[in-house]
């Protein structure tokens, strides 16, 4: 049996296994911590910073930090909520997100968290960046306008030799996702679907099918994000 650690989240007494991340331990204790770049099964990367929690006055990403015995974690304090909202708002203004015509609307984690956190409009000025749409690949459409640079595609989609099909290019606010032309040309339909599903937003779209499930009947149209985790089904924050 692995060792059990005791810790608290917003005063609620919780238990974790040694080595478990704050995020996984919170989920096991039915407490929701929002995430965007994290996906169970992929190596956590702490990129989006939405899962920031506060421990001992320090901000840490829940997806990468292991629980320690006696940790007192703040998940709902005012400054945490503010940082999370800011990050969602920054993601909304740094790209071009046109939810009404997006194939991912209703299945989009960014949109769902924005609803959950009750964000009517971002506080920051829209950047209206000039970004490309790449449609050269036979199976996929890559819309850089909607990419939130979470690296899920980089970490999750590999070819049969384990090589990356997606990678970062450049740095800073000029960073974009680069798709390997050769490797992506050999993608199967299943892989293309997987890539679309792995993307939390509508930046990777599988070609040729659209709006199969009508808007209104999609995942987050029914229940707010995190409902499957939360014990007490809070709606918005």
């Amino acid at each position: 049996m692995s060792k059990v650690l005791n810790f608290t989240i917003d005063g609620v007494i919780c238990m974790a296994e040694k080595g478990q991340t704050i995020l996984n331990a919170a989920t096991a204790n039915k407490i929701y911590i929002p995430t965007l770049c994290n996906l169970p099964g992929l190596k956590p990367r702490g990129s989006c910073r939405v899962c920031n929690v506060k421990v001992n006055g320090k901000f840490l990403t829940a997806c990468t930090t292991p629980v320690a015995e006696g940790m007192e974690i703040e998940n709902n304090s005012e400054d945490i909520i503010d940082i999370r909202k800011s990050i969602i708002e920054l993601l909304l203004v740094e790209g071009n997100h046109y939810c009404p015509y997006c194939e991912k609307s209703g299945n989009c984690d960014l949109q769902a968290i924005a609803y959950k956190y009750n964000i009517p409009a971002p506080r920051f000025p829209y950047q209206f960046p000039d970004r490309d749409i790449e449609a050269t690949n036979g199976k996929l459409l890559k819309d850089h306008n909607r990419c939130i640079l979470c690296k899920r595609c980089i970490r999750g989609i590999k070819d049969e030799d384990g090589k990356s099909i997606f990678a970062f290019k450049r740095r800073g606010h000029k960073v974009i996702i680069n798709i390997d032309t050769r490797l992506s040309a050999n993608m199967t339909d299943e892989m293309a679907q997987e890539a679309m599903d792995i993307c939390p937003v509508g930046a990777i779209i599988k070609k040729e099918i659209g709006f199969k499930v009508p808007i209104g009947e999609r995942k987050y149209d029914k229940e707010p994000i995190g409902s499957d985790i939360e014990e007490i089904k809070a709606t918005t924050i």
Partner: protein, 598 residues
Amino acid sequence: MKKDVKSIIAKYNKDETRLMDILIDIQDSLGFISPEAIDVISEDLNLSHVDVEQTISFYHFFSMTPLGKYNIYLNNSAVANMMGCAEVAKVFEEEAGSKFGEVSKDGQLGMFYTSCIGMNDQEPAAIINGMVFTRLTKFRAREIISDIKAGKNVEEMYVASYGDGANSNQLIKSVVSNNIRKIGPILSPKAEYGSALKKIIKLSPDEIIDEVKLSNIRGRGGAGFPTGLKWEFCRKAPGDRKYIFCNADEGEPGTFKDRVLLTERPKRLLEGMAIAGYAVGAEEGIIYLRYEYKYLEEYLENVIREAREANFLGKDICKKKGFNFDVRIQFGAGAYVCGEESALIESAEGKRGEPRDRPPFPVEKGYLNKPTIVNNVETLSSVTQIINNGGEWYRSFGTRESTGTKVLSVSGDCLHPGVYEVEWGFSVNDILDLVGTMGDVQAVQVGGPSGRCIAPYDFNRILGYEDLATGGSLIIIGKQRDLLKDIVLNFMDFFVEESCGSCTPCRSLSVIYRDKLKKILKGRGVQKDLDDMYAWRHIMKGNRCGLGQTALNPILTTLRNFPELYEARIQKNKTFDEGFDIHSALKDSFEITGRKSF
């Protein structure tokens, strides 16, 4: 071409963790990293194309398109601008007939701006085909372009005599000056090479760590972590191999003291690295050296060779059985964030220099996932002197909380820019007296752009971890400067350019702050812009590394210490201004259509 690339890759044993070296060598021999070269690399290292491009496109000095036969990298940091870089750039452009940021049509000359190259005490400065040119003037710029047009070797373009000290060494031959203005125990030429090593072979690793702890020295790279404690963690961490990294990335604009230590006291550094190796049980040391200092390569390689010959590196050092330690140099390729210790490790492993999430810390899982120490050049050099003279001796310098001395890099509007080794506890006023000011001082930037900009009422504050902690850069800013435009905007551009781009706030909010500052400088700002900049400052605490956590400091510290400068530039009669200028946005269209705006 293919054969060249293949042999370079073979030289590094087809090891993907040596991708940086492979790319540097290819760039050096081909002039750029071509798509065909990327093909060969990805094939031989079994990586995808985009993986290789991910590393290449991260670094400023790599190029996927052909560069010129000659390439001028002109520093356009704040101090370079203070010293006249813009005028020099203008002459370069006029004489060459091409612009910065491009390669001339005939492929002869590429001209690019670059951030601080560690020559702040001798600006304007540029790197031309790897050689450093300092104290450029309009006249020199004209000469250089005419030499380039005449097809001269870069070596033939030097007109001044070589710099002081080892800069004139046959293996350096550079016009760079050391400008050492005040010597203390770390810069002191006293102490024979190897004396500390001869001492430690009689001691146990724990005794060495105790001595370092006794000295109370803290890391000199900026973060100030207690060195003895770091070593102890690494010593205790389980691992079959351990590594010692010397952080010689020196990227913080305004810092150049590590360059001087590397030029004048490289043996002291090598000795410090070997001591660290002995103390924690590491046999390999790596100096991560910024690409801008490549002109020191042959010289440093030779010092390392001599150290091996003297049995101060290599096997059974000082005849002590089992004391094995060797050092190699790993070059970066132009990325400030690679000075952050975990990004440095990523870079040394051949990847984009993106900081890691901690825990685990490098002392537990660092280079190749093995326990690793990363220490600054000055920290390691200081340890050698601590071993030579004792921790108690070291504590006799400085203050209670900040023991020892600090090697400062002073530049800007002062009479004697250069390197000063002072005891901790000197006030900013003391430093100003020491370096000699010219006219009134408006502000001092302590600790580079990521540090703080202080006003004269703070000049009695002291340098030390208990007050003004600093990695050692002091930039003196005279009254005649437009602080917000010349300094703060330049620093914000720097952070926007240098963010690795991973964390949302760092990547995105620094751009928003920079743009707000630009709006204020254009006279379009309102009170709300200042309120916003104040209100949003906490968001950056959510970033992964020190770059993002401090990237707003240029604005935040001037907003606090010089509020009047901002207030004087905002519109008092307006509460809202979207900052969008419809007249200028439509200018082209009006010209084409011949219509006039309202």
